[in-house]
């Protein structure tokens, strides 16, 4: 990577390119899932067609604040990624990332409806479960490299993944939550067969749903960028590991049933405490 480019350029590139990355990932996801279920599946670009269709449709506004909140959600996700690649302090990014996720909860919660509300509450629980991990992960990466920005970590001679194996292992666990994959897809689902119908997106339609989809694509790209941080000596290796891990997530998604929120919360906290806490403790004791 040529480091003499202004990091802001990477930030802007993220805003433009991340949806393409996320959309293609969603397309691959659907094809892979279909093959696992012995179906042919949709074309690779189907998520983009879907998004175009959603944007054309009328949005049924349950109340006037859902739309601004969802725009805020998508915009903040884009800003999080832009800040991450644009060289903002990594720990600061962790806080903005949480805020971005919170806006989706607020949008769903503002609808005074049972399905949306239950979805919003569960998403909040999922946030509570995963947030300690992301703060600790980014703090640990800063600690091992002594750097505070994305470019700094990439340029660091320290091989992050070797120093933080526990954190990397926990990442694959927590990513299941962020990608809203089974068994941790308690707050929403693409399929309307769960007890919450589609949870926090129940009352979002047309372009409102398109914002949610866009935000999710940005989120996937942010997660990929996080994985690259672990493999800071080789970006292609990082992306390859992300692809393999994503494939594993799809497999898990198709072979498990949804867990209860209690299990999600307990297991994520336990994993974070043991793997990440243990790894961080070792780091502090050795260094």
């Amino acid at each position: 990577m040529t480091l003499n480019v202004n990091p802001v350029v990477y930030g802007i590139l993220f805003i433009v390119l991340a949806p393409i990355f996320g959309g293609l990932l969603a397309g691959i996801d659907r094809i892979t899932s279909a093959r696992m279920q012995s179906r042919v599946g949709p074309p690779l670009l189907q998520p983009f067609y879907d998004l175009g269709k959603l944007l054309q449709k009328d949005a049924r506004q349950v109340n006037p604040i859902v739309e601004p909140l969802l725009i805020g959600h998508a915009a903040l996700m884009a800003v999080t990624g832009a800040m991450l690649l644009g060289g903002t302090d990594l720990i600061f990014v962790a806080f903005v990332f949480a805020l971005a996720a919170l806006f989706l909860v607020l949008a769903a919660g503002s609808v005074n409806s049972p399905y949306s509300f239950a979805g919003a509450e569960r998403e909040l629980i999922v946030l509570l479960a995963s947030e300690p991990f992301f703060i600790l992960m980014l703090a640990a990466i800063c600690k091992v490299t002594g750097e505070s920005s994305y470019q700094g970590v990439l340029a660091s001679p320290v091989w992050v993944a070797w120093q933080l194996p526990g954190v990397l292992l926990a990442f694959t666990f927590v990513a299941t939550i962020k990608l809203r994959k089974s068994p941790f897809d308690i707050s929403t689902s693409h399929h309307a067969h769960q007890e919450l119908v589609s949870g926090l997106t129940s009352d979002m339609s047309g372009r409102l749903l398109a914002y949610v989809e866009m935000a999710h694509w940005y989120e996937s790209a942010i997660l990929a960028a996080f994985v690259v941080l672990f493999f800071n000596w080789s970006i292609p290796l990082g992306l390859l590991v992300f692809a393999i891990a994503y494939g594993a997530e799809v497999l898990v998604d198709n072979s498990t049933s949804r867990a209860k929120w209690q299990l999600v919360l307990r297991s994520t906290w336990a994993v974070t405490l043991l793997l990440v806490g243990g790894n961080v403790l070792a780091l502090f004791l050795i260094k």
């Binding site: 506004q61 919660g109 049972p114």
Partner: protein, 642 residues
């Protein structure tokens, strides 16, 4: 300077005395508003006179001396406590206060008291300036707010005997005592103001004189008197050890072993007043008092005195075992109360847990001590004073309109009380919407924790990560309730019109303050908090002063977004609402659902309180025990060090 400070201390006391005699409501309104203007103005003038910002020391105006006045004040406070305790048949408070008086009298009679340096009675620096501004502006706004609040409070609770003369008298005396406390340099003088704040909070908590509140009031009195006794014993130890009673001298650098016992007891005093575990229960009991009392105790007085003292002590205790233990008491308190907070349904109590947690962070910073961490501590004090003051006032207003403090009854608030919602959202944004407010401080704290070697650094990181996420959960729940919408009737909307001008004035001013601090965080950091942090630790690093423009922009947008959205909604006369998805059942935009077998019900949605995963009561007791052990260890470490 000395006459300005004397004015700030004495004027509120005089106004308080005057208000005791004023029974006419209209006259009281005039006096309170005028006095609030004068006090706020005087505090601003004091801050402006401060000029170049180097610490200054000075004595009483016109060469007056303290003489025997301190002893007289101590005896008066003790007599008052004894009388009121006898009336209510309580034994612990008088024992504690008499022990204190015994120490003071012994010291006076034994002739061991060192000569007071008449030019170093008061200490004014940037920290004192920040405190004076908070007390002078936030504190007086709360007094103005009370004018409206107390009227409605007594209308909605006719069984409680109104004693508003006493109430307003206490508010002003409280402010006067706080002014004195934050500028005191001579420890025995600070102790008098310390005890005055204890007494004021005791009387304010017990204002309604019901059996319940009297119990809570005495709990607060006992715990804070214990801290006060620690303060007295600390003075005794200092005098016996031929040490200075000059706070600035004591805390000019790392303490010698001879000073540690006294410092440990001063830390105990700070921890009690800052309501850290195991002393948290008094602040939770205080929630049963009228809301302006809570606002005052949380934002500008009382608990802030506790963390103020600990921040003052920070350079002396940092780096010692005592400092580390105090820091862990604070950080563990933050973690435990955040965990209890997610199980709490009473909004005022959620705010109280959030306060104790924020104070815990400040205590953690004070105990560990470094320029960065002092910066964090003072920043949290500023953000918290304005945002939490606003939130308590708003919750008080809502409580008087909806007759409930239960978070669950705040749903669809945006539709019912749109302007109040906008104010509440400003306060919540100020408290926790990343990256503004306390979050900026948390971020800097995490950066500082990364530099702490050994298991302590790792433990602090883990505590911070989990504690922060827990606060996100309870704030998120409150936000969902405030932001939800449904169709409302004209009658429901008219409720908002009954809010008094005093309440609007105070709440809008504080909301403007929250936004102002967000916009000027760079200036505040570079001109005030940064130099203060560097002066405290005689550091030269300036890395923490820099706020990147991209962060500043995000910050202002983030803090304005939700309130602006609420205001925009309230301006729309007839916005589009559609019925939500209800699995095919007929439903109205007001949230009434048709049932399968006929009839209809209004949708009622309840938040999750993590039942079965987190047991709030158990966590609270566990925290009390763990932190209690740590506090005892801290005092023991201090004693052994000698």
């Amino acid at each position: 300077m000395s006459s300005l400070i004397a004015f700030l201390v004495v004027f509120p006391l005089v106004v308080g005395g005057l208000l005791l005699a004023v029974r006419n409501g209209k006259l009281r309104n005039v006096i309170v508003v005028l006095a609030a203007l004068v006090v706020a103005g005087a505090s601003v003038v004091t801050a402006m006179t401060f000029g170049n910002g180097n610490a200054v020391f000075f004595g009483l105006p016109n060469g007056l001396s303290l003489g025997q006045w301190l002893l007289a004040a101590e005896v008066a406070i003790a007599a008052f406590v004894v009388v009121i305790s006898i009336q209510h048949r309580r034994i612990l408070a008088p024992v504690l206060v008499l022990a204190q008086v015994a120490i003071t009298v012994y010291l006076e009679l034994s002739g061991k008291m060192p000569e007071v340096d008449p030019s170093r009675i008061f200490w004014f620096d940037r920290l004192a300036m920040v405190m004076v501004l908070i007390i002078g502006i936030v504190g007086t706004l709360i007094c103005v707010h009370s004018l409206g609040y107390m009227r409605d409070y007594h209308r909605s609770s006719p069984l409680i005997k109104g004693r508003r003369t006493v109430f307003f008298c206490l508010l002003f005396v409280f402010l006067g005592a706080m002014f004195g406390l934050v500028v005191s340099n001579y420890l025995p003088l600070m102790l008098i103001f310390w005890e005055m704040t204890t007494l004021c909070s005791f009387l304010l908590i017990g204002y309604t004189r019901t059996k319940e509140t009297v119990g809570y009031a005495f709990n607060a009195l006992n715990m804070n008197m214990l801290g006060g006794l620690g303060f007295s014993v600390a003075i005794l130890l200092l005098v016996n050890g031929n040490q200075s009673l000059d706070l600035a001298t004591l805390t000019s650098g790392p303490a010698t072993a001879a000073l540690l016992p006294a410092l440990a007891l001063l830390c105990l005093a700070g921890l009690t007043k800052a309501a850290q575990m195991p002393f948290s229960s008094w602040l939770l009991g205080a929630m049963y008092a009228p809301s302006p009392t809570s606002a005052l105790l949380h934002s500008s007085t009382m608990v802030k005195a506790g963390v103020f003292l600990l921040l003052r002590l920070s350079p002396a205790i940092a780096g010692s075992n005592l400092g580390t233990l105090v820091a862990f008491v604070g950080m563990l308190t933050f973690l435990f109360v955040s965990l209890v907070g997610v199980t709490e349904q009473n909004t005022k109590k959620v705010l109280a847990y959030s306060t104790i947690g924020s104070l815990g962070l400040i205590v953690g910073c004070a105990g560990l001590g470094s320029p960065e961490l002092i910066w964090v501590g003072v920043m949290i004090i500023i953000f918290h004073a304005v945002a939490k003051g606003l939130l308590f006032l708003v919750v008080g207003t809502i409580e008087n309109r909806l007759y409930s403090k239960d978070m669950e009854n705040f749903d669809t608030l945006l539709s019912r009380l749109p302007l109040v919602s906008a104010l509440a959202l400003t306060g919540i944004a100020g408290m926790f919407i990343a990256p503004f407010g306390v979050v900026v401080a948390k971020w800097t704290a995490i950066r500082a924790f990364l530099e702490i070697p050994g298991w302590q650094g790792a433990a602090l990181l883990v505590i911070m990560a989990f504690g922060t996420s827990l606060t996100l959960f309870y704030w998120g729940k409150l936000l969902i309730k405030v932001l939800s919408m449904r169709s409302v009737s004209e009658y429901e909307l008219s409720v908002q019109k009954r809010i008094t001008r005093f309440e609007w004035l105070a709440e809008i001013a504080l909301a403007a303050g929250v936004i102002g601090i967000a916009a000027f965080i760079g200036v505040i950091s570079e001109q005030v908090v940064g130099p203060q942090a560097l002066a405290t630790f005689k550091g030269t690093s300036e890395s923490f002063l820099h706020v990147q423009p991209v962060m500043l922009t995000t910050m202002v947008v983030a803090v304005l977004f939700l309130p602006a959205l609420a205001l925009w909604t309230s301006r729309q006369k007839h916005y589009d609402m559609n019925d939500f998805y209800a699995a095919g059942r007929p439903v109205t935009t007001a949230g009434v659902m048709g049932m399968a077998l006929g009839g209809s019900r209004t949708v009622s949605l309840r938040n999750y309180y993590l039942e079965g995963v987190v047991n709030g009561g158990l966590v609270f007791r566990a925290g009390t025990v763990v932190c209690g052990v740590l506090v005892i260890a801290a005092i023991a470490v201090g004693m052994v060090a000698r």
